[in-house]
């Protein structure tokens, strides 16, 4: 039994708690929170204050960190790597190298193993890019996100004056996906690959035209994209746009042969009803791997790039060779 602690309890932490139930070789020990434990309602696991974690080292094999990448994980993962094997889903792509460095220094010093940046992107999509590029070195990668809800973009709309609530979908453009698959290796910007669809609840008396213009001209978030804005009621938002689906596809198009006459297209795609629960499921599989790697002496900061795939599975080697290879 691998004993797992959950550090932070939002959508992701709840997802980890539920994912542990699907893995009979793992056991949830408890949820650790910075809130008042009495105010946190889990799906069954006991709740402890974040400070109590440090007194429970002998009860926990792996701590799964479920905080956010902006401010939580850059502090929490290096801090907890002194006491536990840890897994996180740090997803600020540009800052991964420095996060890896910070976590690695602590983990190595204290003989712990960490897997950072697990999830789907970074995570499974990263693996798709790595494998495809190693097999087809002469080719081009394309990553498309969606159709799915971007929480960052939804938040950006909510901050506009006159907006009561909003939900933004990132949608990959069909023509761009076709171009990526064509083998002609076109250069496509993120804006050429995606469009943005916004469902906005306006406050009473708000200037709808001004809201729409503000959204469409927002730099970085919307200005470079084909953007559509729909004004709907709060009720419609609540009933029709309650979920947090996401997904996307990684395409690599490459060529082999004496004159590169043979084209090959590799695609890895995800269609996820729940972004958080899928990410949580990846974190839980990584918890299995991190414990095994630590037992074997592979200490320090790792990513999915370093993990032998079989370490993620609960199945014994013989069964993997017989049934999955």
């Amino acid at each position: 039994m691998i004993k797992v602690g959950i550090y932070g309890y939002g959508n992701l932490g709840r997802g980890v708690e539920l994912a542990l139930r699907q893995n009979p070789d793992m056991q949830g020990v408890g949820v650790f929170t910075r809130r008042d434990p009495k105010t946190v309602a889990t799906c069954g696991l006991p709740v402890y204050s974040a400070e109590e974690a440090l007194t429970m080292q002998d009860k926990i094999d792996v701590m799964i960190l479920c905080g956010g990448s902006a401010t939580d994980l850059p502090k929490q993962t290096p801090f907890l790597a002194e006491y536990f094997n840890v897994v996180d889903s740090f997803d600020t792509h540009a800052k991964i190298p420095q996060h890896a460095q910070a976590v690695g220094e602590v983990a190595e010093k204290f003989g712990k193993t960490a897997i950072i940046s697990a999830g789907w992107d970074p995570g499974m999509f990263s693996l798709a890019r790595l494998y495809s590029g190693a097999i087809l070195p002469e080719g081009q990668d394309y990553t498309f996100w969606g159709k799915g809800v971007s929480q960052g973009h939804s938040d950006a709309i909510r901050r506009i004056e006159g907006v009561a609530d909003a939900r933004q979908y990132t949608i990959p453009m069909a023509e761009a996906m076709q171009a990526a698959r064509s083998g002609e290796n076109p250069t496509l910007t993120t804006g050429e690959k995606h469009e943005r669809e916004c469902f906005v609840v306006a406050k009473e008396g708000a200037d709808l035209a001004k809201i729409e213009e503000t959204i469409k001209n927002m730099p970085n978030y919307f200005a470079d994209y084909k953007t559509t804005v729909h004004f709907i009621s709060q009720e419609e938002l609540n009933t029709q746009h309650a979920g947090l689906p996401h997904g996307g596809v990684v395409i690599r198009s490459g060529a082999t042969g004496a004159g590169k006459e043979h084209k090959h297209v590799i695609e890895y795609s995800l269609k996820l009803d729940s972004n958080a629960e899928f990410t949580a499921s990846v974190l839980v599989a990584c918890a299995r791997a991190v414990q095994r790697m630590n037992k074997e002496g592979a200490i320090g900061c790792k990513t999915l790039f370093d993990v032998p795939p079989s370490y993620l599975s609960a199945k014994p080697r013989e069964e993997l060779l017989k049934t999955l290879l």
Copy 2:
């Protein structure tokens, strides 16, 4: 520089020779053949007799075996694992455990590392099944092959009386793929997932109706499938059906949540103009990994399940974290 030998020179061996050119950290040393070396025309590499390989141990870091799974590899891989780190594409799924055992015994005894059953199925499709199942333990796998040429089925048709030549395509059925993606986890037999399309050149005066009937009723190969037979000229076969494309898709449909209310679909798909050249590209990436694993003391028989993904890539860790994660 990783020095690579190619043992066997058919479509696959030629594919390995060409793939090595796309990998600047690798160098082809030569082709080893059981034929008269003077009769083998490569794309540039020197040709040696198979026996000479044993005298060239110090010139070769990894030997890539390019023989067939029926009779060549079961003998050659264990034999050569005494002298070299080896990579093969052994693809008789049912016999993989015993092949692994035979290769592992020799490799361990002589301190060598082997990666067996690399390619796309077994190989990349196996990885897709392993990762998806580890992440979504409650779900169902579906593997579809095609659209592509099955050489075994083409050969079976050629052996029928009155047939001059033939090409058989395995085609995944669209309705079955939709069912697999639906999240309803239907049970689908191989025959329910695929249809078979046959292009046949008949000898002059042959009984076409009898050929068609013989094909459609051939046990194991065609009897359980929806099969279509087209009679065409040799010229049309040569011009329209000369390539050996293949591919397919691995789908896993799973569910998470307190009541499994969230469905997730993971798909990994390949569209390959050349079956042999893509398989060769996987073997070459594995040659990189096998050498590194051997240097680190990971001896014995491995598969892609055991290989840390980053070992397949020529790129340094820092670059992988920065650009692909």
